[in-house]
Amino acid sequence: MSSTPLLDIATAGDTLELRPTGSWTVVNAGLLESLFNAAAPQLAAAKRLRVDLAGVREIDTLGAWLLEKISRGAEQAGHPVTVTGIDERHAELIEDVRKVNRTQRAARPRPNPVMARLEQAGRAAFGAVDEIVIFLQMLGATGWALLGVLRRPRSLRMTSLVYQTWRIGWQAIPIMVLITFLIGAIIAQQGIFHFRKFGAESYVVDMVGILVLRELGVLIVAIMVAGRSGSACTAELGSMKMREEIDALTTMGLDPIEVLILPRIIALVIALPILAFMGSMAALYGGGLIAWLYGGMSPAIFIERLREAVSVTHFEVGIIKAPFMALVIGIIACSEGLKVQGSAESLGRQTTTSVVKSIFLVIVLDGLFAVFFASIGM
């Protein structure tokens, strides 16, 4: 059906005669463009142009536009153009294409690269301040919503809270337990392997106990929750924002913070300490198992040593941190979710930011707590 397009060019005096033939359709796009480019220098030189379209078998918008571009170029240079032989079937499309692209698009000024860099740096600095403001705003709004709920306990979204706690807490138990179990086991194995050189194998129990209860249990669980539930929170809120569901909620007189965000944050604050506790226990279990199988320390001795090595204080230090980490994860996840704009790309970007930021802040928070507990002697 489609035949090869050709462009015959003949010069008669100062008149340039163009005779396009064949299929001027997008199927032959590459060929058409090279034909056009090849003819361009002769077109520029011609004083008078005649285009005979009688040989064109098929034409579509692309072909019509290329032919129109030829004659428009000549017209703009002030040379007379005559077009003949237009097939009656093609006339309307050619006429339509003749009208398009007449207005010049306003050229956008190119920014000076140095200035652009400076501007970027400035914006980034202000952006950092904004981030803090947004975080505090979200914290305040959540606190306010919480106050409202405390005053009118019935306004708490119980169904949503239970559902979120089930998703964030209950469903996460297997993976959290598995990972912390493995980490406890790895620490114990490394400890036994290296302490053996000094004959200090029994101190592995102290190391595993204190490390897991004070730091690692809660930290690893918090990082896992940020990756698992924080990202889900951001993606859910983000796609709701994208599809104007949050706007719809607002116009119905409901507060998105109260309806969507508060249940998620409370669920996080409930679930994370429980997960951290289970994770710590699983890690101790893993450590004990390795101490028995690899280090030859019987479970009874392990438990006995553990009782001497750790006190309730160590456990408290660990578990006190959990709700605060949950709060940070929740606030970051929700405020990043609300920052999503219209595109799928921005949803992806915000979800990444949410996870990276909350893991970073969880670690920073852990450091601050370490300083705090050290100074009060816990």
Binding site: E33, V100, M242
Partner: protein, 256 residues
């Protein structure tokens, strides 16, 4: 001769769960015609269109597009794709991270080797033909109004001047002037390129002015098909209610 038909659907059954939406439906679309499909809201028009395109699995029946059987290896999207058919989804389905212009260029970029400047010109030309300005081309889909989204989606569906175009409610959300321009554009393209158009629409004016034939879908079947006049004279109760309801009366009121 099968070649006379662009789309042949016979005995098609489509359903979700226990619900049958399309129930032993047969429909032929001739080459080069504009077929309008009407039907109740929720009656299965979009489902029929998406099944023909191959997005929804069918439970039974045959679908042939341009002589290709949909059950053949690779499915129709393998044989066709953008160069052969263009599709306007009811919700637009623009790529949200690309600007309007990039959306229109996308099929060109994937299927034809053209320079960037020529692609820009073609995309601007397409946008202008559907009634948008080149400045609108820089906007992201989230910055477009509902009607503008429709038009960009239409420009994208027509980007390669494909042989078959599926349009799901192309004029809903457009003002009457824009809808009229759209009708004229479709008519022009049909005349020049021999386009086959399968158009779901509730726009009575569109049905009357551009459609060569109109099919009515009710109870999962095509209950009437023919020219607009045939449908106006149809005896089927739903078709009568559709075309002779209060809202439709003005369409065929005799000028006094």
């Amino acid at each position: 001769m099968t070649d006379q038909y662009a789309i042949r659907v016979s005995d098609l059954v489509v359903g979700f769960g226990r619900r049958t939406v399309i129930d032993h439906l047969s429909l032929d679309v001739r080459r080069g015609e504009i077929l309008g499909l009407v039907g109740a809201s929720g009656g299965g028009k979009s489902v029929l269109m998406r099944t023909i395109i191959g997005l929804i699995p069918k439970r039974g029946g045959r679908i042939e597009v341009m002589g290709w059987d949909a059950d053949a290896a690779g499915g129709l999207n393998g044989h066709f794709g953008a160069p052969r058919w263009g599709i306007l989804f009811q919700q637009g389905a623009l790529f949200s991270s690309l600007t309007a212009r990039q959306n229109v260029q996308f099929p060109l970029r994937e299927n034809a080797s053209l320079s960037q400047s020529l692609m820009d010109e073609i995309a601007d030309a397409k946008l202008e033909m559907v009634g948008l300005t080149p400045d609108d081309g820089d906007k992201l889909p989230s910055e477009l109004s509902g009607g503008m989204t429709k038009r960009v989606a239409l420009a994208r569906a027509l980007a390669l001047d494909p042989a078959i175009v599926f349009l799901d409610e192309p004029t809903s959300g457009l003002d009457p002037i824009a809808a009229g321009d759209f009708d004229a554009l479709i008519k022009t393209l049909q005349k020049t390129l021999g386009l086959t158009v399968f158009m779901v629409t509730h726009d009575l004016a569109s049905l009357k002015t551009v459609c060569d034939r109109v099919a009515a879908l009710a109870d999962g079947k095509i209950v009437a098909i023919g020219s607009m006049d045939d449908l106006l004279n149809s005896e089927h109760p739903w078709v009568r209610a559709y075309f002779h309801g209060k809202r439709s009366l003005m369409l065929h009121k005799k000028p006094d």
